[in-house]
């Protein structure tokens, strides 16, 4: 007879006593939660003992439970070690979930609008506790995932695991690789900084090269001819919804196929043409519970630990300045995993190398198992395919190198030098001029001439004297007088000294306060070692480019702007040389061809001024279509100047 109108726990207590009733209740609950293992079974499993009852209760969770129904109950003992899988498939899956979790966290703090996306980034970094930590994890995880998925593919290729019956598994795997890349790429744009805008612009510009549909494809992807509000929203939707959805679907298919066919054994462990992965003899079985399960928990712990350590001490996700479609930064690159396409683009036609080549490559990869149908998975029988794998690795490495801005991108030396000294923080690197501590930025003008000879004081004094003494520089471009000219002739015209020219340039183009330009160069003070190092670096780079920048000198001009804000103007002066397509022109005698400027006097009313005349092909001089007598022409060597400036605030702390 029941105590309550229905059978209940109280009846058990009444019947068996409270201790026994509770013990049985707990036991039953555990068995329900684990879908088949009671406390005793769990205890045995965790102690590494064999199961004490039959049928094996450790298989029931796989048969009856939801969470383990996709995991096999046991593995072949030859596939649970490091070789042959290197855990790369497992790691890829780990990162899918890792990225999902960290990504969802970040979604709470992000709005996909160009107006505030960048502001959101600043607030994630400056206002959200653990915001930087989450962002770093997500970004590092994304980069790691691309690398790991690619390595997973190479491993499968090398061990020949794509062969029958796993062709379709490989096919879905290639799709997963593709979508991993696309996910990472679409996420690149979201911070809306210069790095993301331009990397994605380069990547997306390839769509434009598609035949017939190029314009439409581009518009579909970017939402407008240029990336803007619509483009960002589209990339965001693709990143958080579209691509993950596809990825999860194919991840399901991929893993389902892996389980259906079993993990392929190391090639030498089975006979050619046989696939014994599904027939695991009793003595070769490693059961999921407890061995593989504890192993995977361990891996999850270790991998997470490594990620955490990396983002705390070694890696911070880059964030550059706010995206600005009107300012193309020097040396823009696609993300590293797409560098190979950028490199291929330098080989020629945008369509062939930007669209056709990657499509053929990925397509070829996808159908590879249907083409390579040789049965043997043994390494010695697969020389062609293994060589192909090595070739793929070599070529993608070379193409990636070619994708770097160092390769075949002609930027004039002076711009390159200044850029290298002043570029804003990107990928944990920053132009060294920005790293000068504020208290070392002593206002004044410093010149690379100070490195000439041993006595810096004297070198700078001589330099000041020399600059003041040169009287001959002119009109539109600054020009030095070529040696064979009689200097007296030249002095009839009014020339600017280089210093005056610099002064005027700083005032008219640089908008600097005229009172703040130092009158003379001086030696770098002793207590400013970093400033000195930057000046040395400027000098070194100028000397490295001596061919393009002959007789050059550089200068740093530091001036006060506000309390706590100083301005550094970087200046390079050099004698112009003929450069075509980034190559310095050399004449028949092996001499560098200088850039010459031809001037003549033009009198207009009372004003006499110097005007540049054109040198026609036949050696005569022309001015507005009229010939000018050679006697009236003064030929001077062009002296050129390049000036750029940066501001440094005392709190900016670029040196950290």
């Amino acid at each position: 007879m029941s105590l309550l109108p229905f059978p209940s726990f109280l009846d058990d207590v009444h019947e068996k006593g409270i201790r026994k009733a509770i013990a049985e209740g707990v036991n039953e609950t555990v068995e329900r939660i684990t879908a088949g293992m009671n406390i005793q079974d769990v205890r045995e499993a965790l102690r590494g003992e064999d199961p004490s009852r039959r049928p094996n209760p450790r298989l029931t969770p796989h048969a009856d439970g939801f969470w383990l129904h996709m995991r096999p109950g046991y593995f072949h003992k030859d596939v649970v070690g490091v070789y042959p899988t290197f855990r790369l498939g497992w790691l890829s899956t780990y990162f899918v979930f890792f990225e999902t979790i960290t990504g969802v966290m970040l979604m709470f703090w992000y709005t996909p609008s160009p107006e505030i996306a960048y502001g959101n980034m600043l607030s994630i970094l400056g206002n959200v506790p653990l915001g930087q930590f989450m962002r770093d994890l997500h970004r590092l995880g994304a980069e790691a995932m691309v690398a790991i998925v690619a390595l997973h593919m190479m491993r499968t290729w090398i061990t020949g695991s794509y062969k029958k019956p796993r062709q379709f598994t490989w096919f879905t795997g290639v799709l997963l690789l593709l979508f991993t890349g696309l996910l990472s790429f679409s996420g690149y744009l979201l911070p809306w900084d210069q790095l993301s805008l331009w990397a994605v612009t380069i990547g997306a510009s390839m769509a434009e090269a598609s035949p017939f549909i190029g314009e439409q494809a581009n518009l579909l992807m970017r939402g407008a001819p240029q990336l803007g509000a619509n483009g960002l929203l589209r990339f965001y939707m693709a990143h958080v919804l579209g691509f993950p959805l596809i990825l999860f679907i194919f991840l399901g298919v991929h893993y389902y196929k892996v389980i259906i066919h079993g993990h392929s054994l190391p090639p030498q462990k089975e006979n050619i043409g046989e696939d014994t992965a599904k027939r695991v003899p009793l003595d070769k079985r490693v059961y999921f519970i407890p061995d593989v399960l504890t192993n995977e928990m361990l891996w999850a712990g270790v991998t997470t630990f490594v990620m955490v350590v990396l983002v705390i001490w070694f890696y911070h996700a880059p964030l550059e300045h706010h995206a600005d479609p009107q300012k193309t930064p020097l040396g823009t690159t696609a993300p590293w995993y797409f560098l190979w396409i950028q490199g291929a683009l330098k080989l020629g036609d945008k369509f062939i190398w930007g669209i056709l080549f990657p499509t053929v490559l990925v397509g070829g990869l996808a159908v590879m198992p249907y083409i390579d149908v040789t049965p043997s998975r043994r390494y010695k029988d697969r020389r062609v395919m293994l060589s192909l794998a090595m070739l793929l690795i070599s070529f993608s490495t070379i193409l990636s190198y070619m994708g770097l801005p160092e390769f075949a991108v002609a930027t004039s030396a002076e711009r390159e030098i200044v850029h290298e000294l002043t570029f804003p923080p990107a990928h944990s690197r920053v132009g060294i001029a920005l790293t000068i501590p504020y208290d070392q930025l002593a206002p004044g003008a410093y010149t690379t001439a100070q490195f000439e000879g041993d006595d810096t004081q004297r070198a700078v004094a001589q330099f000041n004297e020399m600059l003041g003494a040169v009287e001959g520089i002119d009109a539109e471009a600054t020009m030095a007088i070529s040696d064979d000219l009689d200097k007296d002739d030249v002095q009839e015209w009014e020339f600017e000294t280089p210093l005056e020219h610099l002064r005027n340039e700083l005032i008219s183009v640089g908008n600097i306060d005229a009172n703040r330009i130092p009158a003379q160069f001086r030696v770098v003070p002793d207590d400013a070692p970093v400033l000195l190092a930057v000046l040395e670096e400027l000098n070194r780079k100028i000397e490295q480019n001596a061919e393009e920048l002959p007789d050059a000198w550089g200068a740093l001009i530091i001036s006060e702007n506000q309390d706590g804000l100083r301005r550094v103007d970087l200046v390079i002066f050099w004698n112009g040389v003929q450069i075509e397509n980034g190559i310095v022109q050399i004449d028949d005698d092996g001499e560098i061809v200088p850039r010459l400027i031809h001037l003549t006097e033009v009198t207009d009313g009372d004003k006499t001024e110097l005007v540049e005349v054109e040198l026609a092909e036949d050696g005569s001089f022309m001015l507005n279509g009229e010939a000018v007598a050679a006697d009236n022409v003064l030929t001077v060597r062009e002296q050129r100047m390049h000036v750029e400036h940066i501001f440094i605030h005392e709190d900016s702390a670029y040196f950290d």
Partner: protein
Amino acid sequence: MNRLIIESIEGRITLGITMFVVIMILIGWVMINEPYRMASFEEQELGRSTEQGAELFAANCTSCHGTNGQGSGLAPALNNPQLFEYDFTNSVQVRDPDSPFFGKRIADLQRAIRDLYLLQQDLIVERQRLEGELGAEDIDPVVADELTFELRIVNAQLDDNAEIGETEGLTEAQAEALQTALSNNIPLGVAARIEVLEVGTDQQNALLAERDALLGQFELAMIRGYLPNLDTFRDAVPSRDEALAVADEAERLTALLDWIKGELALTDYIETDASRLQQVAWGGDLRGYITTTLIHGRPGSNNVWPGPMVSWSQEGGGPLRRDQIDNIVNYIMNWDKGDDWTIADLDNVQQFARLHADAAQIVAADNSGDGSAALDKPDISALPEGDAANGEALYATQGCTGCHVGGLVGPATAGTWSRVADDRLSESQFDGWTVAEYVYFSIVSPGDYLAEGLGNIMPATFGQTLSDQDIADIMAYLESQ
């Protein structure tokens, strides 16, 4: 290689648990450091934003506001104590630590005296009323008693009557009410307190003299321009000695009140004008004022600044993004020197275009141009082919978009080509010119010819600062508009 890395299950469990515990500890450690990290990030970010603001300011704002933000004939100074509400008269205060008015400013003293005078006036009226009622013939003795008591309190407040605490002759209830009144801090002894303040008269006079001397110092920069009526204002203030000379008590009080109100108005007037925000009666804070002005621009004024400021933000149709506006605001706010402003700072800046003590410093916008000069048609045959895309970028970075929008300050960008063809070239002095020649001419020598209604405010330096290629690019861009 084909074995689990850690063979024993205990090892795996131990290492796995250790890993998770260590991860928790590490995250906890990061969490503890977060407030400091975030604070230093904010500081660093403000610095970097200021740097970018400096860049934007140099490119877009200096042509009107001056290279160092000290203003020009076109626009007021921003590197300016007046913008940052720095009141130089702040320093005029009682410096004697033994004085009961230590740290008080002249206006505080005067307000205190004014309040006492006003109270005294009220009390005198009250006394007269009570005395009048008591003097009535058929007064109820009980009421008379009450009135006497009230009069006693009023007298006590007016004269600091020593008998105030005495309860003799009062009913028990009255004695209690008196105690309550006393303990409630009813102001007592107005006369006595005025006396105390009058003791401070010497100090007041010293402060007034000091303030006047100070005002004299920045008269050049401020008073004749911003405070053009100060002298008349000052003349209207009645003299204190005259007020004291009045024999009748009530009238003397009124005269004294007039004097003190006059002095106070003078002080208030100067304090208000020391701050631009108060001058324009701005309801928000300084950052909001600068941001709003940058976003939406501001109208020209008939009195001080003839030219309007265009809206610089994309929200207002201008060229800059909102984050760039914030960068510029951070840069401008960085000019604030707090308490370190000097009168020299005030002297160095251009406060106004039209009104200034020193006529030589007026570089007011010259709206006349000299449109009468014979115009030389420029030779543009040597100009290279232009690239409209680069032109658009230049148009923004050179600050053109700031003014060339809407057509009020500079001709609107849209429709430049057709407008020139239809309107400008029909004028006789441009006979035989092409649109390209006109546009080139307008970029290189903008002041030589001014279309009707436009001021001569475009920098004339583009001919020097831009290369032929740049100008050709900009022209190509304009042609596409």
